[in-house]
Structure formats: structure tokens, C-alpha cells
């Protein structure tokens, strides 16, 4: 009976169960897992898999991580692999890059990417450009990770989105996961990648649970860097987004589905390289494009996507100008009513879709 149940839920496991004759085996199940736990498990597995991987940053060890992403890791791996640093971003980011040059595979955590600005020279000039400047002699296998973009009530200096800043630079890979599956697969890919990867998390997503299939739970499940994912199929308009805003796009799509408007939601997953092909294929199907991001509009991720669509084959398929939905072009205010109106809300996405579709 157990084997029959297997067959119904996820056919591929039925064969293996039958062959093993393990009739009392619990059927494989998807689990609910938060983004936080997905990141934690990904790091745990990669630390175990490769001795050269280590984590450094403020409060990552004994505090279990400022946002508890590294909970339990110090207890398991100790001082050598999980390193608490003083509050000196430029210094410890430089040390992390040097360690990567010296043969290790560091994960350098910025408590938020706002603080990475203190160290941005090390990320760009020491990490990103070195393989090129050395004509392929010196590689830098490093991951810079931490929360990016707006949180809740943390005000102007702690709410900036850096996707456009880092996405601008050749030599870097930049990823921005949304779901737990994204977080897990992309972090593993980032750690295994031999190049500098900027890994932009989102604090508001940490506690959000997602269903994770057994395949995704496997130790070698990787999400390829540079490939977007279609989270929802649709025919009328393409919504391209990354990180938390993907969730808002899906919510807007659910509302509009009741009115007969079917949105295709593209989860970028990677900012650099940008998956232009998936976007173009979608636009050529739906004829309408809206990008949705939390960051500022000027020179942002949406601006780049629109420019690429202009320059590529998808342009001729547009029935209306492509537009961007972005954060408001202001420093983030504190008061809740002001903050809520500083970033895209579901109603802003719906409004923009209806304007674009002229309905």
C-alpha cells in the first residue's frame, strides 16, 4: 500500500520503493521550510561538504547570527569555521577576499548590505576585477551575503536596495532569491561557484515558509545562476520581478485572475547574469511587460530590463510601452504610513497592469 501511495504522489519514487520492497517506508513528502532555515541548511551542508568553506561576519558565531541565519553552526563547526568579526566591514571584507585568493572559500556576511558600502571597494576592486586584471591567473571564490533592501521601520540608512549597484559590475555574479527553494539552491550554487557572488537576501522573507519538494531537499540540489523561473504561467502580461516583490506579483496575479486577466510572473532569481532570453520569450507571448522591484527607479534593475527589451527581438511584440513599478525615489521614511507608501503595493502593480492593458 505504501508503494501505491508513493506512485500517486510522486511517480518517480514508486519504482525505487517497489524494487527495494520497503513496504513500511514513509512516503517521501514535501516539507514546509522557511527561507531562514533553507539558508541555514544550505550553509550547513556546504560547510560539511568542503573544508575550505567558512563563514565570517558580525555576530555569526556565538550570537547565532543577527537574523539567526547561522543558528547552530558555531556549535557544530567551532571557531575555525564560523568566525565572529569586529565591526570593521572594510577590514573583514578585505580579509575574506584575501582568504579566497589564498585558497579558501569564504562566505562573508554583511549584517545588511547597507554596511557593505563601507567595504564596496573590496567587493568591486579586489574581488570582482582580479580574475580579469590577472588575465585568468588569480580567481576569487567568495560569497558576500546578507539582507538587502527595505525591511520594516528601519528607516533611510538601513533600507537601501543594492541590486542595481552590484548588478552594474562585470566580474560579479549577483543573485536575489525569493522562495526557500531559491534561497537553498542559489546559495549552494554561489558557494560552489569559483567566482565572487553577491547574494542578496531579504529580511522580511526570512520567516516566510514555503513548500519544498524532496528533490529540492537533496544535498546536491542547485539552482543555476543566470536562469530565471516562471512562477506562474499567463498570456496577457509579463511581470518580471526579484526577491520579495515576486510574492506581491503573485498576489496581484491572483486578484486579476478573478477578472480574467492572466499574468505570467517571472522570478529573475539572478540579477547578473540577467536571463534576457526567458524575459523575451515571455514578452513575445504576452505582448506586455511590467517590471516590479523594491529599489529606486533611476538606473535600476527595471531600467536595464526595459533597455534590453528595446534593443532585442521582443520589442516588436510589445502592444504597449513596457513600464517599471519601483520604490519611490526618496530615502526611506520611518512612519508606517509613509514607509508603506514608499514601496510598491499590490494595488500599484494591479493599477500598472490595467493601465498597460488599457482596461
Amino acid at each position: 500500500m505504501a508503494s501505491l501511495r508513493c506512485f500517486l504522489r510522486s511517480g518517480k519514487n514508486a519504482v525505487s520503493v517497489v524494487l527495494r520492497r520497503e513496504f513500511h517506508r514513509t512516503p517521501p513528502a514535501a516539507v514546509q521550510i522557511t527561507v531562514r532555515d533553507a539558508l541555514n541548511q544550505a550553509m550547513d551542508e556546504e560547510l560539511e561538504r568542503d573544508e575550505r568553506v567558512f563563514l565570517l561576519g558580525e555576530e555569526v558565531a556565538q550570537y547565532d547570527g543577527a537574523y539567526k541565519i547561522s543558528r547552530g553552526l558555531w556549535k557544530k563547526y567551532g571557531d575555525k569555521r564560523i568566525v565572529d568579526t569586529p565591526i570593521t566591514e572594510m577590514g573583514f571584507a578585505g580579509i575574506a577576499v584575501g582568504a579566497a585568493m589564498g585558497g579558501l572559500r569564504p562566505i562573508c556576511e554583511f549584517m545588511t548590505f547597507n554596511f557593505s558600502m563601507q567595504a564596496i571597494d573590496q567587493v568591486i576592486n579586489s574581488a570582482a576585477k582580479t580574475y580579469y586584471m590577472s588575465a585568468g591567473f588569480q580567481s576569487v571564490p567568495i560569497v558576500f551575503r546578507g539582507p538587502n533592501g527595505a525591511s520594516a521601520g528601519v528607516a533611510a540608512q538601513h533600507s537601501q536596495c543594492f541590486a542595481a549597484w552590484y548588478g552594474h559590475c562585470p566580474g560579479l555574479k549577483v543573485v536575489s532569491p525569493w522562495s526557500a527553494e531559491d534561497a537553498r539552491g542559489l546559495l549552494k550554487s554561489a558557494i560552489r561557484d569559483d567566482n565572487p557572488v553577491v547574494f542578496l537576501e531579504n529580511e522580511l522573507m526570512y520567516g516566510v515558509p514555503f513548500e519544498m519538494s524532496e528533490e529540492v531537499q537533496s544535498k546536491d540540489f542547485l539552482v543555476p545562476i543566470g536562469k530565471a523561473k516562471i512562477e506562474r504561467q499567463g498570456n496577457h502580461v509579463t511581470l518580471v520581478s526579484h526577491s520579495r516583490m515576486v510574492g506581491l506579483c503573485l498576489d496581484a496575479a491572483a486578484v486579476l485572475a478573478k477578472e480574467g486577466i492572466e499574468c505570467e510572473v517571472v522570478n529573475l532569481r539572478s540579477i547578473r547574469p540577467l536571463d534576457t532570453e526567458t524575459i523575451e520569450t515571455s514578452v513575445m507571448k504576452t505582448n506586455h511587460l511590467i517590471t516590479v522591484e523594491g529599489g529606486w527607479p533611476q538606473f535600476g534593475v527595471g531600467a536595464e530590463i526595459l533597455a534590453r527589451v528595446m534593443e532585442g527581438p521582443a520589442f516588436s511584440y510589445l502592444d504597449a510601452p513596457a513600464v517599471r513599478v519601483t520604490g519611490v525615489d526618496i530615502p526611506m521614511p520611518y512612519a508606517k504610513i509613509l514607509e508603506d507608501n514608499s514601496i510598491p503595493q499590490i494595488k500599484d502593480i494591479i493599477f500598472s497592469i490595467k493601465k498597460t492593458l488599457n482596461v
Binding site: A93, G94, I95, G98, M101, L104, Q122, M133
Partner: protein, 400 residues
């Protein structure tokens, strides 16, 4: 050494050479010393300047033993650096080298002394005045010069230029002042982590010494006892600003505060060597980082765009040249102790000159990198990726 053996073999084969009699007698003299008759002194002990100490009970020894072989090797290497830098000056004025060119002549004893105090298996990183270190770390004059002229035979295939030369266990060549210091501590961390008993030398100048990230690095290197030798090459000027105008404290060897420090005569290769050995021993014994200030001098300006005389006098430059030149110091020591002959050293000069000429010839005739190489080396171990060119129809390819 090779030259000596050539002479010996020529003599033994009875070959007449160009200067027949002279060389035979030279060969004869050499043969005599190869038979261990000390016609040349095989080694001698020299007094070296005492180092000023900071948070150290004892310092390096005040005497250094120099063997004839070592002396000839140091002389050759320092002379090579000197002539290479002077050739670069020439090529720059002919506009064959472009952009930034920061020359090292005057400071040769630092690079040579440091290298003789560590092993090639150790690690080293410096800032942009890096041509000398690229050589001592294992680069060849040919590939250094071809990099300066931006040719495909350059040590970075022409893609790095003067400030971005790399070789095994040498992490450049770094353009951003001070950024190399945390990088060096990171390499030291990797050494300690991997249990290799290797250390990393992190160099910076008197100008960089005030950078905040250097103090951040002192802190972490000390906390974590990283095997890192911090070395400040104090050539008295950060670009056009003298040390007195830039630093509230010019005791750079003390700026590490809780890190022990040495102030060393950077014009004496033996002094630098002994100090480096002392510092290396300190690191390898697990005591953590140590700091060295090398007092040295650069004859050229900050870079080729700086004549170097608006902020210092020609008299000052001349005085250092006549009284403290590192190559002259070594030469005088060797000659006055009969460790080498004038002719022998001249012979080395000629060989060095030839090597530089050949390298310059290569550097000016080697072709520039192919345009196909433009977008390569963005990512390591990556499938080929498309790179946007200057316009939307220009789709270029990048290979690892």
C-alpha cells in the same frame, strides 16, 4: 655563477676567447678559488644598524653573515631591478609605456632583503610600486616589461598593466591605496587555516599607513594571531606629501600599537634581510603579526607624471644617491672585503644590461593582445558567456 663555470670550462677546454689573456687569467683565478683557495673571501660578517624596537625585548642580530654567492646574487638582482626601472623610464618617455608607471629605483634593498628573509612558498602582496617585487617573487624581466608595454607576452597578457602583475604566491600589484593590507591578512588567515606554516608579507607605504582599513587589519590580525608581517616602506613621501605633513606620528613602526614593531634601515639589504628573518621567526612561532618599517628612498617621483622635485630638493636626492645607494653599499662591502672583483661585478652589469635590452626589445616588438581576448577572463571555470559590446548588435564572447 654560471658565468664563472663557463669561464672554467672554457679554460679547461683551452678555448681562446675574445679577450684571450684577460679571461684566461680570470678563469685561472676562478679555478684557483673553486679549488677552495680563498682568493676571494667566501663569506664575511658585517655590522648592521641596530633596529629601533617597539614592544619587543630583543631585536634582530646586529651582525649579518654574507656569503660571496649571496652577495653576487643580491647584487645581480638589485642591479636588474635598477636597470629595469630605468629602462621603463626611457620607454615611458618614448610613449611606449602609457598610463601609470611607479618606479622602484632606490628601494631595491627592500625587495631583495625581504625575499632573502622568507621562502618562495611564503606569500607577498604590495601596492602599485610593484615591479621589483614581481621580479623577486619569480616573474621575468621579459614578461614584466611586456606587461608595461601592454603586449600579449606580458605577465598578465597585457590586461593588467603596471599595477596589476601577479605570479605564484604574489598577489599584485594593487591600485587602491591600503586595500592590499587586509587582503594580505586574508592570505595569512588562509595559511594558518590550512596549517601550512607559511606566512604572508603585506606591504604598504608611508602614505597608506594612515588608512583606516590598515588599523582594522592590525586589530583582526592580532586578535586571530595571523602569520602576517606588515611592512611599511617609508620613502618619506606619499606622492607629493612629506611624512611630516601627512602623519601626526611618523613612527610608523609603532603605529601597530599592540603589534610589536621594528624600524629598519631599508637601504641596507643585510639589515632588511636580518629583520625579515627575525619577523618571519616571530610569525612562524605562532606569536601573531609583527610590523616592520623600512626607511628607504625613491629616486624617481611618485610616478612618471611626477618630476619629483617640486616637493623635495635635487640636493636631497643627490645626497641619498651618493651616501646611501643600496647597490653601492653592497658593492663597497664586497669589494673592500675581497668578496668579488671589480671586473666580476662589471661583468654582471654587462649581463644585466643585456638582459634588459633583450627584454625591452621583446616588449616593444611583441604584438598586442588579440581582440578576441577582450572579454575573456571575466569568470573562472565558467561556460562561455555572451558579453554586450559597445552597441546592441555587438555580441562578444567571454571564455574562462
Amino acid at each position: 655563477m654560471r658565468k664563472m663555470l663557463t669561464i672554467i670550462s672554457n679554460v679547461l677546454r683551452g678555448n681562446a676567447s675574445r679577450n684571450g689573456a684577460e679571461l684566461v687569467s680570470e678563469g685561472a683565478r676562478v679555478v684557483v678559488s673553486a679549488r677552495t683557495y680563498a682568493d676571494f673571501t667566501p663569506q664575511a660578517s658585517f655590522d648592521i644598524k641596530k633596529c629601533d624596537l617597539h614592544k619587543l625585548e630583543e631585536g634582530p642580530p646586529q651582525q649579518a653573515v654574507l656569503t660571496r654567492e649571496e652577495g653576487l646574487q643580491y647584487y645581480r638582482t638589485m642591479q636588474t631591478i635598477r636597470r629595469m626601472e630605468l629602462k621603463a623610464d626611457q620607454l615611458y618617455k618614448q610613449k611606449i609605456i602609457r598610463g601609470f608607471c611607479h618606479l622602484y629605483d632606490g628601494q631595491e634593498a627592500c625587495a631583495m632583503g625581504i625575499e632573502s628573509g622568507i621562502n618562495l612558498s611564503d606569500h607577498l602582496i604590495t601596492a602599485y610600486r610593484a615591479h621589483g617585487y614581481t621580479l623577486t617573487r619569480g616573474g621575468t624581466v621579459r614578461e614584466i616589461m611586456a606587461e608595461l608595454t601592454g603586449r600579449r607576452g606580458g605577465i598578465a597578457k597585457g590586461k593588467g598593466g603596471s599595477m596589476h602583475m601577479y605570479t605564484k604566491h604574489f598577489y599584485g600589484g594593487n591600485g587602491i591605496v591600503g586595500a592590499q593590507v587586509p587582503l594580505g591578512a586574508g592570505v595569512a588567515l588562509a595559511c594558518k587555516y590550512q596549517g601550512k606554516n607559511e606566512l604572508c608579507v603585506s606591504l604598504y607605504g608611508d602614505g597608506a599607513a594612515n588608512q583606516g582599513q590598515i588599523f582594522e587589519t592590525y586589530n583582526m590580525a592580532s586578535l586571530w594571531k595571523l602569520p602576517c608581517i606588515f611592512i611599511c616602506e617609508n620613502n618619506k613621501y606619499g606622492m607629493g606629501t612629506s611624512v611630516e605633513r601627512a602623519s601626526a606620528s611618523t613612527d610608523y613602526y609603532k603605529r601597530g600599537d599592540f603589534i610589536p614593531g621594528l624600524r629598519v634601515d631599508g637601504m641596507d639589504v643585510l639589515c632588511v634581510r636580518e629583520a625579515t628573518k627575525f619577523a618571519a621567526e616571530h610569525c612562524r612561532s605562532g606569536k601573531g603579526p609583527i610590523l616592520m618599517e623600512l626607511q628607504t628612498y625613491r629616486y624617481h617621483g611618485h610616478s612618471m607624471s611626477d618630476p619629483g622635485v617640486s616637493y623635495r630638493t635635487r640636493e636631497e636626492i643627490q645626497e641619498v644617491r651618493s651616501k646611501s645607494d643600496p647597490i653601492s653599499l653592497l658593492k663597497d662591502r664586497m669589494l673592500s672585503n675581497n668578496m668579488a672583483s671589480v671586473e666580476e661585478l662589471k661583468e654582471i652589469d654587462i649581463e644585466v644590461r643585456k638582459e634588459i635590452e633583450d627584454a625591452a626589445q621583446f616588449a616593444t616588438t611583441d604584438p598586442e593582445p588579440p581582440l578576441e581576448d577582450l572579454c575573456n577572463h571575466i569568470f573562472y571555470n565558467n561556460p562561455p558567456l555572451e558579453v554586450r559590446g559597445t552597441n546592441p548588435w555587438s555580441k562578444l564572447m567571454s571564455v574562462s
